[in-house]
C-alpha cells in the first residue's frame, strides 16, 4: 500500500484529488443551498462536448471542458430566474451537449477508450502539468469565492432582503455559477464528466444535514470529500479495475443515506424559527429551504 505512494502518478492523483475535494466542498455547499443540483449535473455533461472537441483538436481536454462548461454555466445563470423554466432549458441543453460530444468522438478514430476516460475519469492520466493547472486555477477560484463569500451567503439565505440592501443578486448568481464551472472542470479530470457532481453534492448534502452553520458545514463537507477521494484513489490503485468515481459515489451514498434517515432537520427548524431577525442573521442562519419559508411566513404575518 505505502509503496504505491512512491509512484509519481499516485502522488499527482492524491494532490489533485485533495485540491479539488476542498474546492468542491465550498462550491457544493452553495450548490445544495441554492438548489442547483440539476445544473451541477448538467454543466459537466455539456463540458464533455468541449473535452471531446479538444481531443479532436489535439489540445488538453480540460481547456475544452472548461470553455463549454463556463458558457453553459453563464447561460444557465442568466436564464435561470424561474426554477420551472430553468429545469427544461437545462435538460434540453444537456442532451444537446452530450449529443455534440458524441458527434466529436465518433469523428475521432479509436474513440471508445477516450470516451470512457472523459466520461468515467481516471487516476492514471494526471500529469504534472495537470497538477499545476489545477493548483493555480483552484487557488484563484478559492480566493474569488472567499471574496464574495458573505454577500453570496446573504443572497442565498434571503435574496429579497439582499436585493433590498442593494446587493447585485443576479450578478452574484452568474459569478457563482462561473466559479462552479471552474471547480467542476478541475474535478472532472479525475472524477469524469458523469460523476463529478457527486463530489460537489454528496459531501455538502451530508454535512448540511449534520450541522447548520455555513462555516462548519463547509469544513465538514471538505473533510468528507477528502476522505472519499483518498479512499477512492486507494481502492482504485489497489484493485486496478475499480473506477475512483464509482468509489466516491458509493461512499457518498453510503454515508448520506443513514444521515438523511436518522438526522432530522427538527432542532434547526425550531431554533431558527424562534430566532429574532437581526443584523447577524446572515452569518450563522440555518440554510434550509423549509426553515426559510417558516421564517418568511412569520415575517409576512408580522
Amino acid at each position: 500500500m505505502l509503496n504505491l505512494l512512491h509512484y509519481p502518478f499516485m502522488q499527482n492523483a492524491i494532490i489533485t484529488g485533495s485540491i479539488v475535494a476542498v474546492l468542491a466542498a465550498v462550491v457544493g455547499y452553495f450548490i445544495v443551498a441554492r438548489s442547483l443540483t440539476f445544473a451541477a449535473h448538467a454543466i459537466p455533461n455539456i463540458g464533455f462536448a468541449g473535452a471531446a472537441g479538444a481531443v479532436l483538436a489535439g489540445i488538453l481536454p480540460v481547456y475544452g471542458f472548461f470553455a463549454f462548461a463556463f458558457t453553459a454555466a453563464v447561460g444557465i445563470g442568466i436564464i435561470g430566474t424561474r426554477a420551472r423554466e430553468r429545469d427544461i432549458v437545462v435538460a434540453v441543453l444537456m442532451s444537446f451537449g452530450l449529443g455534440l460530444g458524441f458527434l466529436f468522438l465518433s469523428l475521432y478514430s479509436g474513440y471508445a477508450q477516450r470516451v470512457y476516460g472523459i466520461l468515467f475519469g481516471s487516476i492514471l492520466g494526471i500529469s504534472v502539468q495537470n497538477v499545476l493547472v489545477t493548483g493555480v486555477a483552484a487557488a484563484i477560484a478559492l480566493v474569488l469565492l472567499l471574496t464574495i463569500y458573505r454577500p453570496l451567503l446573504f443572497c442565498t439565505v434571503d435574496p429579497q432582503a439582499a436585493a433590498a440592501r442593494g446587493l447585485p443578486v443576479a450578478i452574484l448568481s452568474v459569478l457563482f455559477l462561473a466559479l462552479a464551472s471552474l471547480a467542476i472542470s478541475l474535478s472532472a479530470q479525475m472524477m469524469g464528466a458523469l460523476l463529478v457532481f457527486t463530489l460537489l453534492v454528496g459531501p455538502a448534502a451530508t454535512a448540511n444535514r449534520l450541522t447548520r452553520r455555513p462555516g462548519r458545514t463547509i469544513l465538514l463537507a471538505a473533510f468528507l470529500g477528502l476522505v472519499y477521494v483518498w479512499v477512492g484513489i486507494g481502492a482504485a490503485a489497489l484493485s486496478g479495475r475499480l473506477p475512483v468515481s464509482f468509489m466516491v459515489s458509493a461512499l457518498a451514498f453510503a454515508v448520506y443515506l443513514p444521515v438523511r434517515l436518522l438526522a432530522s432537520p427538527g432542532p434547526g427548524r425550531r431554533l431558527s424559527g424562534s430566532r429574532k431577525p437581526g443584523r447577524e442573521r446572515s452569518s450563522d442562519i440555518a440554510i434550509n429551504r423549509r426553515v426559510l419559508t417558516t421564517e418568511a411566513e412569520e415575517c409576512s404575518i408580522c
Binding site: 420551472r84 437545462v90 442532451s95 444537446f96 470512457y116 468515467f120 473506477p243 423549509r290
Partner: protein, 292 residues
C-alpha cells in the same frame, strides 16, 4: 442511398424510433407539467445502471432496465409528492445509479475492444442494431404505458395543475404520483433502448416543452407534442441516413433537432398567460420565492 432507405436496418430504426417518440411525447407532457425533468434524468441513469448490469451478466438489456427503473421509481414517486427540497435526494439517487453503471460498464469494457464499443451503444444508443424481437417487446411496453396513462390521465392532470384542490376532493395524490413514476420508468427504458442512456431525456422533454409553448389546452398540447416528437425522431434518423457530413450519429441528430425545435419554440411561441396563474398555486412558495 435509396438502397440504404430500403434496408431492414432503416425500417427497424424507423419503427423503434416511432414507438419511442410517441410514448415519450405522451408521457413527457406530464413530466414537463409536473416539473419532473430531473426525476426523468435520474431514471435514465438508473436505466443506464440496469442495462450495463445486464450487459455484464448477459441478460436482456430491456429487462434489466425495467427491473432497475421500476424499483427506483417507487422511491422517486414517494419523494415527488413532496414539494420542496427533493432535488438533493434525487441527485444522490442519480449519483449512486450512475456510479453503479460506471462500475458495471468499466468492468464490461475491460474484457475486449468489441465489448468497449458495445458499451458505447448503451450510453449513446443502438437504434441501428435493434432486433425485431426487441421491437415487439417495445411495442408491448408502449401499449402498456399508453393504456395506463389514458386511465390515470384525468385525475393526474387535476392533481398536477391544482394539487391542493385535488387533495381536498379526495383524490389519492400519493398513489397517482407513484403510478405516474412507474409509467415514466417504462417509457424512459424504451427511450434509453433507442437513443441511449445519456440522450434519452431529449425525447422526453424537448417535444412537450416546445408544444406547451404553443398551446395551453391539454388535448392540443399533447397532440402537438406527439407531432413534434415524430418530426424530431424521423428527421433525426433521416438526416443520419441521407444527410451531409458522412452520416452523423443518430443520437446527435435527434438531440440537436430537439434543441433547435425547443429553442425556436421558446423564442417564437407566445408566453402563456395561464402559466403564471398555475404556477402561483402549484409548487407553492418555491415558485413564488423565485418570482420575487
Amino acid at each position: 442511398m435509396l438502397n440504404l432507405l430500403a434496408s431492414d436496418i432503416f425500417g427497424n430504426a424507423m419503427t423503434a424510433g416511432t414507438i419511442a417518440a410517441v410514448t415519450a411525447a405522451l408521457v413527457g407532457y406530464f413530466v414537463v407539467l409536473r416539473a419532473q425533468a430531473f426525476a426523468g434524468e435520474a431514471l435514465t441513469d438508473i436505466c443506464f445502471a440496469g442495462s450495463a448490469g445486464s450487459a455484464l451478466a448477459g441478460f436482456n438489456p430491456l429487462l434489466g432496465m425495467l427491473v432497475f427503473s421500476l424499483t427506483a421509481s417507487l422511491g422517486l414517486g414517494l419523494l415527488s409528492n413532496r414539494v420542496r427540497g427533493r432535488d438533493v435526494e434525487i441527485g444522490m439517487a442519480l449519483s449512486m445509479a450512475t456510479g453503479l453503471g460506471v462500475l458495471f460498464l468499466s468492468l464490461y469494457a475491460h474484457h475486449s475492444a468489441s465489448h468497449a464499443t458495445a458499451g458505447m451503444s448503451l450510453l449513446f444508443g443502438s437504434i441501428l442494431s435493434i432486433r425485431p424481437e426487441e421491437i415487439g417487446l417495445m411495442l408491448l411496453c408502449a401499449i402498456l404505458v399508453i393504456t395506463s396513462l389514458a386511465i390515470v390521465s384525468r385525475p393526474l392532470l387535476f392533481a398536477t395543475i391544482d394539487p391542493a384542490a385535488a387533495r381536498a376532493k379526495g383524490l389519492p395524490t400519493l398513489q397517482l404520483s407513484v403510478s405516474f413514476m412507474l409509467i415514466l420508468a417504462v417509457a424512459v427504458a424504451m427511450c434509453v433502448l433507442t437513443i441511449g442512456a445519456l440522450l434519452a431525456l431529449s425525447l422526453l422533454v424537448a417535444p412537450p416543452a416546445a408544444a406547451l409553448r404553443f398551446s395551453r389546452r391539454p388535448n392540443r398540447a399533447i397532440a402537438l407534442s406527439v407531432l413534434i416528437g415524430l418530426v424530431v425522431a424521423w428527421g433525426g434518423i433521416l438526416v443520419s441516413f441521407v444527410g451531409p457530413w458522412k452520416h452523423p450519429p443518430i443520437g446527435f441528430s435527434i438531440t440537436s433537432l430537439g434543441a433547435i425545435v425547443y429553442l425556436s419554440a421558446h423564442f417564437a411561441g407566445k408566453r402563456r398567460r395561464g402559466l403564471s396563474i398555475r404556477e402561483s398555486e402549484h409548487p407553492g412558495k418555491e415558485v413564488m420565492d423565485e418570482g420575487r
